[in-house]
Subunit: 132 residues, 2 copies
């Protein structure tokens, strides 16, 4: 077994133990910059368009400064006045820092995503938050 | 050294190795339900009000169904038309499932937070996303 394979297995096992010990999901050294994008689809009833956009967003995980990427759709939580459920697809990315986010903005993979998918959405809202 | 202490140290060490090996931050078995709340302060220029709300949001991490909580303020990313930077404080919570979020909504700690802090904000928008 190679060293890296052993290390990976050790990490996996330890993470699982850590999860059990803490009684919650293990998250370690999580990056501090949160980039949350909400897309409103031009054709909100088109599952095909939604799936295309989801697939497009997932390509962004290949950008080296993207520490974690989660693609979402509207959850079926209780309808309340404060809950905005009018969007179609969400993109939650964690960066280590502002530089990582800046690199992402002009990265060829990001530009390709915009070229291939921007016809699918009619509105975008971005929230950039830094942990305090 | 107790067993739990040894386990904790093993987990910490392995997580650090995992981070190095992957060239990115280790995140394992992350919960699938994302609850992102943005607060607009009544007094947006009051650092005191902002700090009070940040402290209030942090109390929510004690709710047993909250798997992870990140409190944010507006990041100094590039100003672009699509970026909304008009809010004051953000609350990003991960739940394992819809039931976890429902428990949170009516939890005494959440109700206490609303009682103590709702005078600080004038507007709230909530996004509930489920991973796809």
């Amino acid at each position: 077994m190679s060293t890296s394979r052993r290390t990976f297995l050790a990490a996996t096992t330890a993470a699982a133990i850590f999860t059990t010990e803490a009684g919650a999901t293990a998250v370690t050294h999580y990056p501090k910059l949160v980039h949350h994008v909400f897309f409103w689809l031009k054709n909100p009833d088109s599952k095909e368009d939604r799936d295309k956009l989801v697939a497009g967003v997932k390509t962004l995980s290949k950008i080296e400064t993207v520490r974690d990427l989660r693609v979402g759709v509207v959850a079926s939580t209780e309808k309340r006045e404060v809950v905005d459920n009018s969007w179609g697809v969400s993109e939650l990315i964690f960066f280590s820092d502002l530089a990582g986010q800046a690199t992402y903005q002009t990265h060829p993979i990001h530009l390709e995503f915009i070229k291939n998918c921007s016809h699918l959405w009619e509105k975008v809202i971005v929230y950039d938050a830094v942990e305090v």
